[in-house]
């Protein structure tokens, strides 16, 4: 069902007196997931059911915890990426920011108190994103080129910081990535909280609406008094922030920070956004869709490993699934 049909149905439900009930129905509508999300949730549920029936180790608590943990990196990066994609941009540097902030937090923790080490790493991530944002906004450079350059630069800085992997000396450092609350990893809770904050940002703040508007028609929102450059910097800075959180959590989970980590992470993040309905030309995309995209990608990875599918075939299948997801959405859009 298309978005239009959905809202038409909802209008009928909410009665004839549209003038009176419109605000209420609009609020209600925002709570109903979009068709893309519903399709993705359907696909995910189908996968879970089939996998649960055919594979004994899939629905175990251990595997579920593991699955959640695996989704954290892609999830956080996709969240930041979505904000950038909404403006019509792209951030290719996130994988390098993961490596830089991961290795810095692991290194700094030997000299600084844990919270301070993490804070420094996150500030570095935000700075990386801010540099991207300023280049894109202030100097009107193409986001693809800017972040391609910074991807290499940040990776280089990572090796400058340490050519060899760093094993963090503080045992507390490992808590963040490896401890659970019940069966749920702390890292997954942090990720979900950040998604919730992301939802509020996009749907309930003027800054969030401005990001969508910039991607949809930059000149129109500029003339409506929106400070376009400031908002662009914000989007890239938040992408850097998300990448830094992912970097710290990853180093903590693995227990060792590699300078080579994170290569290709940006592609999974972009894929999750696109599967979730975001348009790379900007102006369209949702938090729910992106989260669903992350879950779908995570499920596929997890299952293919459980079934011992060769990792090359995993890549082939993942590519095909992304292609199918985009085709489904294309059909959906033509109906509206």
């Amino acid at each position: 069902m298309t978005e239009q049909q959905t809202s038409a149905v909802l209008d009928t439900v909410s009665g004839e007196a549209a003038g009176v009930t419109a605000p209420a129905s609009a609020r209600w509508r925002a709570a109903v997931p979009s068709p893309t999300v519903l399709v993705l949730i359907g696909a995910a549920v189908a996968i879970v059911v089939v996998a649960g029936v055919t594979n004994d180790s899939f629905l175990t608590e251990g595997n579920m915890t593991n699955l959640l943990r695996q989704m954290v990196s892609t999830g956080l990066l996709a969240l930041g990426m979505l904000l950038v994609i909404l403006t019509g941009g792209i951030d290719l540097s996130v994988g390098s920011v993961v490596a830089l902030t991961g290795i810095m937090s692991a290194g700094l923790v030997s000299g600084l108190p844990l919270p301070l080490a993490i804070l420094v790493a996150i500030v570095v991530g935000v700075l990386c994103g801010t540099v991207n944002g300023v280049m894109v906004a202030r100097f009107s450079l193409a986001p693809f080129v800017v972040t391609l350059a910074s991807m290499t630069t940040f990776r280089g800085l990572t090796y400058v910081y340490s050519k060899t992997p760093i094993t963090p000396t503080s045992p507390d450092f490992l808590t963040l990535g490896s401890q659970n609350v019940g069966p749920i990893p702390i890292a997954a809770i942090i990720t979900l909280v950040m998604f919730a904050l992301g939802w509020v940002l996009i749907n309930r703040t003027s800054a969030g609406r401005a990001l969508l508007g910039i991607g949809g028609n930059r000149e129109a929102v500029r003339l409506a008094g929106v400070k376009v450059q400031r908002h662009l910097v914000l989007a890239y800075a938040l992408s850097g922030l998300c990448a830094a959180v992912a970097g710290v959590i990853l180093a903590s989970r693995v227990g060792i920070a590699q300078p080579s980590v994170g290569q290709g992470f940006e592609l999974d993040a972009i894929a999750a956004c696109v599967i979730g309905g975001a348009s790379l030309s900007g102006g369209r995309g949702t938090i729910g869709g992106t989260l669903a995209g992350v879950v779908l990608l995570g499920l596929i990875d997890n299952l293919l490993s459980l079934y011992d599918v060769q990792s090359y075939w995993q890549q082939v299948l993942k590519g095909l699934i992304i292609a199918v997801a985009i085709l489904v959405r294309r059909g959906e859009r033509q109906n509206t």
């Binding site: 038409a8 003038g19 419109a22 003027s206 028609n217 003339l223 008094g225 929106v226």
Partner: protein, 494 residues
């Protein structure tokens, strides 16, 4: 050739926009299709171009049923459509655009001299020999681009030519040349569909006029036996007694004063005043600098020199945000390019200029926002009244109302409107004039920029005329004539 539509229905999403349209186009005749915005004209054109499939009904070509599976089918049959939105590739030359996909070749390589000669001949045929085929399409004026589109449609001998609002960008002699071309094509037996809501043109060029309203054919008339008033009444479904409100100019204290405003190479030394409660028109030919003056006053562009005073104090709007904060609003001339975010809904588009104002600690007051939007939907009669509808799906007139709503919510004291009625149907125009008139009663000062002479005289108290980047005349709207204003704008004595 005879092309008939029978009972054609088309739905988008859940909304039916054509409810069983019957229509007959014949070779050697000009059929005009008149209708308000949102009547279904654009959809009808897309059906004929094979761009959208029918949901019901049939198309008959010389009595035989015809299925158009896509635009290729329609073009293969010689059905050519010139859309209102230009579809040229701006980076490519005129020749490449016209012969796109069909460039002549010699030994496998493009034969450029033959191609240019071919296009030169085509442009000569349509009466625009002065367009150079070698120049990049993006460098031509919009009017010229429109003619290149028409040349493109004629590159393959057409059997039917559909022109969608060709006069939206053409005026004066250009339009005369287009009409000459239409008459010649008619003599050659081409069926012509002329879609427009400008009735004077429709009456002049067509052999018959089909009026559609709300997706239905209301009537088909012969120009000799009808009148503009009758067509307007049919289009609107009601009689419009009076288009422009009666105005007794009562200018209050001066609000906005522009002094010696210049922008290098665009306009020079422009000075004028706007008083509370008055409507001042600004007329000038395309390229005279009207819109550019407005953009500089609003802070969208930087002037090279000169000042803008508000309430007698010199102000400097560095950004549109500054201007909005001071109570100045600008409705830009091209709503799709600079007015709307088409993919977003009515709520977002209506509140882009006021979002920050209705936020607390960064969080939008969504309840207040919904109430504001609802208020505007009712006040301006935006149809359909659905805040969550993407503006892409609204008709031109309703899109324009959304733009107006966005600026009204800023509670402007000075409202600058740049071509607010372009591509807007008559009923909506009347609504807009009435709304402007009401605003002046609340003490708002209005600057109405327009290239429609009748409008610029009918809806305003006085008129500023621009020519070549300079303000050349100021006349009282009631004490002048269209001829006089036009004469000022082209620089000849009336």
């Amino acid at each position: 050739m005879k092309l008939e539509l029978r009972g054609v229905r088309k739905r988008y999403g859940g909304v039916e926009v054509l409810h069983g349209v019957d229509l007959t186009a014949e070779g050697g005749r000009v059929l005009a299709i008149a209708g308000a915005n949102g009547a279904g004209k654009s959809t009808l054109i897309k059906v004929l171009a094979g761009a959208v499939p029918l949901d019901d009904g049939e198309i008959l070509l010389d009595g035989e049923p015809l299925t158009l599976r896509g635009p290729e089918d329609a073009q293969g049959l010689g059905f050519r459509t010139v859309y209102q939105e230009l579809s040229l590739v701006p980076q490519m030359t005129v020749t490449e655009n016209v012969l796109l996909g069909a460039l002549p070749t010699k030994r496998g390589l493009v034969d450029w001299s033959a191609a240019h000669a071919r296009v030169r001949a085509l442009l000569e045929e349509i009466g625009f020999a002065d367009i150079d085929p070698r120049v990049r399409a993006g460098r031509l004026s919009v009017a010229r681009q429109q003619m290149v589109e028409i040349a493109k449609a004629l590159a393959v001998e057409p059997r039917m030519l559909v022109l969608d609002e060709p006069s939206a960008v053409l005026a004066g002699t250009d339009l005369d040349r287009l009409f000459d071309l239409i008459r010649r094509l008619r003599e050659r037996g081409v069926a012509i569909l002329y879609v427009s809501h400008r009735l004077a043109e429709v009456m002049e060029i067509s052999d018959s006029i089909t009026v559609i309203k709300d997706g239905r054919v209301v009537d088909t008339l012969t120009p000799a036996r009808t009148s503009e008033d009758e067509i307007i009444a049919l289009m609107a479904g009601r009689r419009l007694e009076q288009i422009y409100p009666d105005r007794v100019p009562e200018p209050g204290k001066p609000l906005l004063s522009v002094r010696g405003l210049s922008r290098d190479g665009v306009f020079d030394d422009v000075s004028f005043d706007l008083a509370a409660g008055e409507i001042v028109g600004m007329f000038g030919l395309v390229g005279s600098g009207r819109s550019e003056v407005a953009r500089c006053v609003f802070g969208a562009d930087r002037p090279t020199s000169g000042t803008v005073e508000l309430d007698g104090a010199v102000t400097r709007f560095r950004t549109p945000g500054d201007a909005i904060g001071a109570g100045v609003a600008l409705v830009t001339e091209d709503r799709k390019h600079s007015g709307l975010v088409l993919g977003m809904d009515v709520t977002d588009n209506t509140t882009f200029a006021t979002m920050a104002r209705i936020s607390r600690a960064g969080l939008l007051d969504t309840r207040r926002r919904a109430a504001n939007v609802q208020d505007m939907i009712e006040r301006l009669g935006i149809h359909p009244p659905r805040p969550e509808m993407p503006v892409r799906h609204l008709s031109g007139g309703n899109q324009q109302k959304v733009v107006l709503a966005k600026w009204l919510l800023t509670r402007p004291r000075v409202l600058i409107l740049d071509e607010p009625t372009r591509g807007v149907d008559m009923a909506t125009r009347v609504d807009i004039y009435r709304m402007i008139d009401e605003l002046t009663r609340e003490g708002v000062a209005i600057l109405l920029i327009s290239s429609d002479l009748t409008e610029v005289l009918g809806a305003t108290d006085r008129v500023l005329v621009m020519r070549g980047g300079r303000l050349v005349a100021e006349v009282g709207s009631a004490d002048t004539t269209e001829d006089e204003v036009l004469a000022h704008s082209v620089g000849v004595a009336a």
